[in-house]
């Protein structure tokens, strides 16, 4: 018996020694090389084919740089936050994080290094970048990095659905002011069909069996959805000093009411059940064929426009009730982490990734429009090849429009504010009898409470 025990213990000891030997990094970079780790996972970049492409990109960099090695650290999106926070508090923060957009940059605002000193040292030239790309992620006290890509927004429309309804396609002319919110509503109502192919204009229309909705603006939070209606602060539900909540501004109220009516009275916008029905199939709303006109950004294009079973085209966003067009825009970049080391090396890597020579390839991996004006022609060719037969001018003209202040921009307690407003959004899309004015007032009160708590201790 003692033998058995002994053998067991010996086995245990051996096993742990073997494991200890296998642990840790197998490779050690030579002492002079500075290591730059890029944490990928807050946004796109985690798909298997993207992983391979990023590894090739890292190899290209490492082969051409003697004193810096870079690697992409891929983390699934679900745990990117935890991973980032544990690395930072554990003392081995990644040098760069990205590509990510305004929301992540705003959420983690205190974590980013202000790259203004580096810009001044190198006298870095930003003239080649589209205007919105440089302003969206810049705050008075923080310039978060060099822009990588932008994602203008516009409408995707289902040509087959228009044909079936016997309607003319929407205009592609950005100057045509007749394409406004009322025209959209009229068109969308004609494109909404229930199981018997009746539209909301027909007497025997049955909202419970809708199989195709005319219009949707999904995959955006509450701040985003109300931006187009042109309140004074556009995407930001507070005043400039961030002290007073302005969520229930008249334009937002009008917008929320328009949405609510669109869902429950005129039935051309899907309600929460309809949206989750489509989302939970793992598909995108447009590709499912159930949304005739979908408002989204170019980031949708990289995966969503493959093998569509119908013909589609792009159109400008419609003008709002005040005759303005406020089309949202997103911008992605890599940002530098304040508490990491090797910051100079990180700056070099950041410059390389957004360099005119690399930026198109990098953007192809992540599905963004390169933020450099000089690459527009090269990227156009890529678009023509990848998405033949659509009107590319719609995409590039959309860059002229942006929401400022941005709908994902920083506010105090960003996470709490968004959760509070998104709760309002969920009620807006699930309660047919909701009093929209009261709802927005409640949202405003919740928001004010959060702001007051924040300013009480800052």
């Amino acid at each position: 018996m003692k033998n058995k025990l002994f053998k067991l213990l010996a086995l245990f000891a051996m096993a742990s020694m073997v494991l200890a030997a296998c642990s840790g990094d197998a490779t050690e970079a030579p002492a002079e090389k500075q290591k730059v780790t890029i944490l990928v996972g807050f946004g796109t970049g985690t798909d298997p084919d993207q992983v391979t492409a990023q590894e090739a990109l890292a190899k290209k960099f490492n082969d051409s740089h003697d004193n810096i090695t870079m690697e992409f650290l891929i983390v699934p999106n679900e745990e990117a936050t935890e991973r980032f926070l544990t690395m930072v508090s554990g003392g081995n923060a990644p040098q760069l994080v990205g590509p990510h957009g305004t929301s992540t940059i705003a959420r983690f605002k205190e974590y980013w290094e202000d790259v203004t000193p580096y810009i001044e040292k190198d006298k870095y030239d930003f003239s080649d970048f589209y205007g919105p790309a440089t302003t969206i992620n810049t705050y008075p006290d923080l310039n978060a990095g060099i822009p990588l890509g932008i994602y203008p927004s516009f409408l995707f429309y289902n040509k087959d659905a228009f044909d079936a309804a016997g309607l003319d396609y929407p205009t592609h002319d950005y100057a045509d002011t007749s394409w406004n919110i009322d025209a959209l509503k009229e068109t969308a109502m004609k494109l909404t069909l229930d199981a018997n192919d009746k539209t909301p204009n027909d007497a025997d229309f049955d909202p419970a069996t809708i199989k195709q909705w005319g219009y949707a603006d999904t995959w955006t939070d509450m701040r985003g959805q109300l931006t187009m209606f042109g309140a004074v602060d556009q995407g930001r539900p507070t005043t400039d000093d961030y002290k007073t909540a302005t969520f229930n501004a008249p334009e937002r109220l009008l917008g929320a009411q328009w949405i609510h009516d669109g869902v429950f009275k005129d039935h051309f916008i899907p309600d929460a059940a309809g949206q989750s029905a489509i989302d939970s199939t793992g598909a995108d709303p447009f590709g499912s064929g159930q949304i005739a006109i979908w408002y989204s950004h170019t980031w949708f294009m990289s995966e969503g426009l493959n093998d569509l079973p119908f013909e589609y085209e792009l159109a400008p966003l419609f003008y709002n009730q005040n005759g303005e067009r406020i089309a949202r825009i997103h911008a992605d970049m890599f940002t530098m982490v304040k508490s990491a080391d090797n910051k100079d090396a990180a700056w070099e890597v950041m410059k390389w990734l957004t360099d005119p020579e690399q930026i198109v390839d990098v953007c192809k991996i992540y599905g963004c429009l390169p933020a450099r004006i000089s690459t527009e022609a090269a990227y156009s060719d890529f678009l023509k090849e990848r998405y033949p037969g659509i009107d590319y001018s719609v995409i590039f003209k959309a860059i002229d429009y942006l929401d400022s202040p941005h709908h994902e921009g920083w506010v105090p307690e960003w996470g709490k504010v968004n959760d509070a407003l998104n709760n309002i959004q969920s009620i807006l899309y699930t309660e047919p009898e909701a009093d929209v004015q009261a709802l927005l007032d409640q949202g405003n009160a919740d928001l004010q409470k959060i702001l007051d708590e924040y300013w009480a201790s800052h």
Binding site: E78, T81, E82, L85, V88, S89, R107, E110, Y111, A208, T218, A272, A273, G274, Q275, S276, A277, I278, D279, S280, T281, G282, S339, E413, G415, K416, N418, D419, N422, N423, Q425, S426, I427, Y429, T430, S457
Partner: protein, 328 residues
Amino acid sequence: MAFPSIQKMSLARREELAGYAFVIPWIIGFLVFTIGPMLASLYFSFTKYDIVTPPQWVGLDNYQKAFSGIWDAIRSGDPRQFGDPLFWKSLQVTLYYASLALPLNLIFSMFLAVLLNQKVPGVNVWRTIYFLPSIIAGVAVTLLWVRIFNPRLGILNPFLTNVFGIKSPPQWLGDPEWAVPALVIMSLWSVGGSMIIYLAGLQGVPTDLYDAAKVDGANAWQRFWNVTFPMMTPVIFYNLVLGMISTFQYFTQVYVATSNSLGGLGSPQHSTLFYNVYLYQNAFRYFDMGYASTLAWILFIIVLILTALIFRSSDVWVYYEGQLRGRG
């Protein structure tokens, strides 16, 4: 440390030392891996800690925030009077889920275990089938059921309408009233996990007890209630305690099901805002690790008290064949 000669020690003392000796592996592990992080989180609960800056001591502020406004809310009946309404909402959601899931799980898994303990042809196959759902990774299970519960495009509602004639079946995860019941149903699908514990427990019931009961003329139900059930109480106790502990920490499934839906985590309208989900939001979305730790320790106290109560009650209803009498 020199041991006094073992022979000189009394039998009882030797037994004590032997007991501690066997428990030592856990004690070492506890001291190395567990106690540090636990005490650290206790410390955090008394601080304001946003992870990027070092923790600042704030004393009982976090605890006060969680419990403030109780009297106002009770007196006025308005939940918005609570200092932190979502804290109470999350407790309510969690208790609601537990009150449904725990008893149902217990009954179903025991019922199944008894059935699967019969000498029916192909019982191995049946057991494997019922065990199958608990083998699948939680994330995949949730994604699967989100699709099944889909009110328009899933397979459950058409099944209910066509087979059972239910005209307008519930919206499940899209309806605040039905979201938690939907999650309960999903958990029942994986009842095979607790089932095999009962199955293992059933193996330990001496067959001569059944024989004696049969001789006394007991029918199947009487045999179950008077022989099987009492002999299984140690295992029932286990499932009850652990079921309660894990139900109160229910998280992954909700996260997968709601993080990308309209309204985000806890949707629709906070009906799936479980305690651990709210805790997670405070820790990793609002960067309020101090308050999150407070919530964690409040839950700890609640679960500790409930567990202690169940332990206390076990003297009444749990029967151990090999229980030690006397001290210890």
